[in-house]
């Protein structure tokens, strides 16, 4: 009799446990949908579906985007791979990436450190360093054209410095560095903001403890600040990588890829191919290939640096 009662109780407990577990699973499923749902829906609508359709388009031969579609399999990809200019502009872009990512992060971090160090005018400095980013892509190029084409040569005339006089934008090497300089100028402020957020999130007590222990400013920087700044660096390096690989607005408005296509970066080449040269299918295919390459590079970067993130 007692054994039967115990069995009953055990049976009921199992059922109620199952019910609780199911409820918890449902709740956690509900939570997942609630927390992830909205972002996922909008992301799917805006990016995923059009991207899949975009890939479908690359399987068709189309000269202009409004042409009728003629199925052509992988022909566009073959043409893309055969396009020598695609690869040469990609190589040029890689050089550009290496130059900008390093300097942008260096300058951005330096500025952020400067404006959180407790200087008296740091608030106004913070705004001032940010202003370049307020000016959008094409206009930025026009402004810097003024500088490189007219003002630097004028300055060179007055001071008698001959290499300033050379129109920067007329020489392939100087045009390249002109692009790098303007990119650093424009995006350092953006990275600075991200670094600021990271810097002020460092718990003050950690810094205080280090100071009490006798650590100098440099020591504190290396051992405390930088390790805790890894999340910020993950973001900024990713962003500066992506921006450099995909540079278009500045390329178009500052040098137009000139002189004689010597500063034609890969994004501009792809746009020219798809929309200007009326070779839409191949241009799209090149865009997809570019995406794959950059995705792999940045994927490696994010993955390896996420491992370095320190939990509080």
């Amino acid at each position: 009799m007692l054994a039967k009662k115990i069995d009953e109780v055990r049976y009921h407990t199992e059922i109620s446990q199952k019910v609780i577990r199911r409820k918890r699973n449902l709740t956690s499923l509900g939570n997942s949908m609630l927390f992830l749902g909205p972002s996922t829906i909008f992301f799917a609508i805006t990016v995923v579906i059009p991207f899949i359709y975009g890939i479908y388009l690359t399987l068709n031969k189309m000269d202009s985007p409004t042409d009728a579609m003629v199925f052509s399999g992988l022909l566009n990809y073959v043409n893309a791979v055969k396009d020598a200019e695609f690869w040469s502009s990609l190589w040029l872009t890689i050089k550009f990436v290496v130059a900008t990512v390093f300097f942008v992060n260096l300058v951005g971090f330096g500025l952020a450190y400067l404006v959180t160090s407790g200087m008296k005018i740091q608030n106004s400095l913070r705004t001032a360093y940010f202003t370049p980013n307020l000016i959008g892509g094409l206009v930025l190029g026009y402004i810097w054209q003024f500088v490189f084409v007219q003002s630097l040569p004028a300055l060179g005339d007055k001071l008698g410095i001959s290499w300033l006089k050379l129109g920067w934008l007329g020489d392939p090497h100087m045009a390249f560095w002109a692009l790098v300089i303007v990119t650093i100028w424009q995006t350092s402020g953006y990275m600075m903001i991200i670094f600021i957020a990271g810097l002020i999130s460092i718990p003050k007590d950690l810094i205080e403890a280090a100071k009490i222990d006798g650590a100098g400013a440099f020591r504190r920087l290396i051992n405390i600040t930088l390790p805790l700044m890894v999340p910020s660096f993950v973001v900024t390096i990713f962003l500066s990588l992506k921006n450099a690989f995909m540079v278009y607005d500045l390329n178009f408005s500052l040098t137009k890829g000139g002189p004689f296509n010597s500063t034609l970066m890969v994004s501009m080449h792809v746009v020219n191919k798809a929309f200007v040269e009326a070779n839409y299918g191949t241009g799209q295919a090149e865009a997809i290939i570019l995406f794959l390459i950059v995705a792999i590079v940045t994927g490696i970067q994010v993955y390896s640096s996420k491992k370095m993130e320190v939990e509080a």
Binding site: P38, I49, G136, F146, A197, P203, P231, K242, V294, G299
Partner: protein, 278 residues
């Protein structure tokens, strides 16, 4: 202050000022040139204006249908930013606290999507939502907001994800013990602690959306719904830009963001105060 400290701090101030000059001079260039005529701008971009002509600003305001365009920009930017920030914070929170395989895969897809070249999406977007679904004609502004949320989520989630880890787990566990469910824990405890990064992400989104030209130029086909950057394009000529109108237009577009940034900055600093009381 010791001599060494004086030298060090002077050095720091010097660097700060050189950087200041480098960063701010194009802006100053824009400001002094906004009062000049086309001829003066091209011949003497660096000189002070011969007379300070405010007429260009009123010209621009009239030609750009300023009130309507400004309202459109504000509407789209504010709503998109608010929704992006909220939805992304929630999504990032979930992915950080529950690092399941699915969540990790989704995160990877998000990050990879940021690298998709926009040109490859232009035609599909207007084909699907224009030609097929006619939404571009019917509801351009809500559709544009949806697109901004779609495009902006990846970066915001990415940034929240990194900074979410700095919220100590003990605080959340304490809340759980007190009886909060996940939603309460998030909104009442975690979200307020993220204030500096939230404001930063909000600022970055506002900046991007406010100045964005490409997406609105595809979706907004009617002058009454144009945003500022799209409307400004009329001042770009085939061979020569109409600088005397373009430059005041740029300043009028940039000024609101500058003000917003200065205000936003203050709350980041206040966030620091709160954080240190932590």
């Amino acid at each position: 202050m010791t001599a060494k400290k004086i030298v060090a701090s002077t050095f720091v101030y010097l660097i700060a000022f050189i950087a200041l000059a480098c960063f701010i001079f194009p802006f100053i260039l824009l400001m002094i040139n906004s009062f000049k005529s086309n001829g003066e701008i091209i011949t003497n971009p660096f000189s002070l204006p011969s007379h300070w002509d405010f007429a260009h600003f009123s010209d621009v305001i009239a030609k750009m249908n300023f009130l309507v365009t400004f309202k459109n920009s504000v509407l789209i930017t504010l709503i998109s930013t608010l929704l992006i920030v909220f939805f992304s914070a929630m999504a990032a929170y979930h992915m950080v606290r529950k690092p399941t395989k699915y969540n990790k895969i989704f995160f990877t897809i998000l990050v990879a999507s940021m690298v998709i070249p926009f040109q490859s999406l232009m035609i599909p977007l207007i084909y699907i939502y224009g030609a097929k679904l006619q939404l571009i004609d019917l509801i351009p502004i809500p559709l544009l907001i949806c697109f901004y949320i779609g495009f902006g989520s990846a970066l915001s989630i990415f940034m929240f994800h990194g900074f979410m880890k700095s919220i100590p787990l003990e605080v959340e566990e304490a809340a759980r013990i007190d009886g909060c469910n996940t939603l309460q824990t998030f909104f009442l405890i975690v979200f307020p602690m993220l204030k500096p990064i939230t404001v930063t992400i909000a600022i970055l989104n506002v900046l991007w959306i406010w100045n964005d030209y490409l997406l609105p130029s595809l979706v907004l086909n009617n002058e009454t719904v144009y945003t500022m950057p799209v409307q400004m394009k009329v001042f770009n000529g085939t061979y020569m830009n109409n600088w005397e109108l373009l430059i005041p237009a740029i300043l009028l577009t940039v000024l609101p963001i500058l003000i917003m940034y200065m205000i936003g900055q203050k709350s980041i600093i206040n966030g620091v105060m709160q954080g240190s009381i932590k």
